[in-house]
């Protein structure tokens, strides 16, 4: 099998390819050997072998089958040292063509070009559901998803989340042990559980996305873009569940947010607020795709929070200049969102829309009760928004004081720098 190779390809292309294959391989191994934990370890070793061999020896004709064979060998090697029954196992493995480990595909042939088949996507979703199992704490779900489905190494995940590698390794191994204890199975959950389980997957993917999106270090310093990874995995989920409105909404939200990537950091590394971004830098292809998704999902209903957030993002994206923003529509969407999932942070965002629509005084009135909300006691953005509205309303000195409070509470260096500068600026009095 490894003899039939094509010309060598670029390292990036290779990594993309094996990561596309990884969920299929892991699903095949788990189905075949019944043990997600050891199958996942074997896959990591097979990926390591691929990283060494493929660039040197060229791409195997069937990368998925290659990975299954190599990973199976690792599993069997392990059993040989672990158990007396290893020989019997090896016999079975060596006589079974790798393709038979896979669930039968519609056309019964497994090749690199069928990795995207409905079957492979099925496997990805089953794996996603397993990695986001309710028995696991959120950080463990995130780490396991990136490793098992994203095919990222522990070191890559640790770097992306700025934690030491041993911490991440422990997070992952504990997660796998916990799955085993919980008796989590690699199979579709009962239909009545599916919506909640898919919602948990969506939350994990959204968390991965925001981690990548809000970290300025993200794309440039590290070899992994969590943003790209989250979009890739959400695409897979959407392909499998095209009628799940919230999955479409989530994908649209990610695409529309990511479309602003090039505009949100200035040349000197400072954060650029939405209103001040150079909209020519927005990625129009991403915007078109996001708007298309949300326009298709909204009328189908029921409408959920991701769809509404995506819709708000779409309204922003469709304004050629900040002053062209359709604030009436945004305000209405925030009202719907607040009815669906009320939270003080949502009220804060809603107040901005109200201020843009009815003037700063109306926005400030909405903020008033939030100042006494203990949940926002240390939330810098409440004071930053209030400062901005006070400034617009002509209360320069109060605005300065509020900017200073916001700066003290900020825990992000670019935001703190921005707010300190705003506090230091001479008050504009009208």
């Amino acid at each position: 099998m490894t003899g039939d190779v094509t010309a060598p390809v670029g390292a990036r292309q290779l990594e993309q390819l094996w990561r596309d294959c990884a969920p299929t391989v892991l699903a095949a191994l788990t189905r075949r050997y019944g043990d997600f934990d050891t199958a996942e370890d074997a896959l990591q070793e097979a990926l390591l072998a691929a990283a060494q061999q493929w660039p040197a020896e060229g791409l195997p004709a069937d990368p998925t089958a290659w990975l299954i064979t190599v990973a199976s060998r690792r599993l069997v090697d392990q059993w040989r040292s672990d158990h007396a029954r290893a020989e019997r196992e090896q016999l079975v493995t060596s006589r079974t063509p790798p393709a038979e480990f896979l669930a039968p595909a519609a056309d019964s042939t497994i090749a690199a070009d069928t990795v995207d088949s409905a079957n492979a996507v099925d496997d990805s979703v089953a794996l996603l559901l397993l990695c986001c199992h309710p028995a696991l704490p959120r950080p463990a779900q995130v780490a396991l998803t990136l490793r098992a489905i994203g095919g990222l190494s522990t070191a890559q995940i640790a770097r992306a989340f700025l934690v030491p590698e041993p911490t991440m390794a422990q997070r992952i191994s504990r997660a796998k042990a916990k799955l085993r204890q919980a008796g989590a199975r690699f199979s579709a959950p009962p239909a009545h559980e599916l919506p909640d389980r898919v919602a948990a997957v969506a939350q994990v993917l959204y968390l991965i996305f925001t981690e990548g999106h809000t970290s300025t270090a993200g794309a440039s310093l590290y070899d992994v873009s969590l943003t790209d990874e989250a979009i890739r995995l959400t695409r897979q989920l959407h392909r499998h569940l095209p009628d799940a409105g919230e999955v479409s909404g989530l994908l649209a939200l990610m695409l529309l947010t990511d479309a602003r990537r090039a505009a949100r950091i200035s040349a000197d590394g400072a954060l650029v607020p939405l209103a001040e971004q150079d909209r020519a830098l927005w990625d129009q292809a991403r915007i078109r795709e996001g708007v298309g998704l949300i326009e298709a999902a909204l009328p189908a209903g029921p409408v959920g929070p991701y769809q509404l957030q995506a819709a708000i993002s779409a309204v922003h994206a469709e304004a050629a200049r900040a002053e062209d923003t359709d604030w009436a529509q945004i305000e209405a969407l925030y009202r719907m969102l607040e009815r669906l999932a009320p939270s003080p942070i949502l009220t804060l965002n809603h107040a901005v829309a109200v201020a843009m629509l009815d003037g700063p005084a109306a926005g400030l009135r909405m903020l008033e009760p939030l100042l006494n909300d203990p949940r926002l006691r240390r939330f810098h953005r409440l004071y930053a928004v209030r400062a901005h509205l006070l400034e617009l309303a002509g209360h320069g000195e109060q605005a300065q004081a509020s900017y200073a409070t916001a700066a003290r509470l900020a825990t992000s260096i670019p935001e703190q720098r921005y707010l300190n500068a705003a506090a230091a600026r001479a008050p504009i009095t009208r």
Binding site: P137, R138, P139, A140, A143, F161, L162, V163, P164, T167, Q170, R171, R174, A175, K178, T214, S215, T216, A217, G218, R260, R264, L271, V272, P273, L274, Q277, N349, R378, R381, T411, S412, I413, P414, E415, Q416, Y418
Partner: protein, 130 residues
């Protein structure tokens, strides 16, 4: 979000766990210490399992520190500790949790006899373009 839990204490002699070497700690019966150790062990196990524990270090005797000060002519070193500080930094924990509330809930459990615990958010390099 990442938070550091700073343990300020003044054990004499300097030692870890600091609660065994502070005057307040020595005044507490052995059984109570054992109970507190068990509780703390349980907390650390919980933080590891939840993925919230990032790292921790116990620090050496402040007498072993070197203080560097800057001057226009260049930096100069003196032997520590800071004379004016009554309580020294004895160690720190770095945790990574979902919310400030959760971090406060965790940090509250780090308070021990003769030590003061300080919770501070770690600054990060990102931000949101809202």
């Amino acid at each position: 979000m990442k938070y550091v839990i700073l343990i300020h204490s003044n054990p004499d002699p300097w030692g870890h766990p600091t609660s065994a070497y502070t005057a307040e700690g020595r005044a507490i019966p052995k059984e109570r210490h054992e109970e507190m150790d068990r509780q703390f062990e349980a907390l650390l196990t919980e933080l590891s399992a939840s993925g919230e524990f990032v790292t921790a270090e116990a620090l050496g005797d402040p007498a072993s520190s070197t203080i560097y000060a800057w001057s226009p002519e260049g930096s100069f070193a003196t032997d520590g500790p800071y004379a004016e500080a009554k309580e020294q930094l004895a160690g720190f924990f770095l945790i990574d949790c979902q919310s400030r509330e959760r971090a406060e809930e965790i940090a509250a459990q780090f308070a021990g006899p003769g030590s003061t615990v300080e919770l501070r958010p770690a600054m990060w390099s990102g931000g949101e373009d809202q």
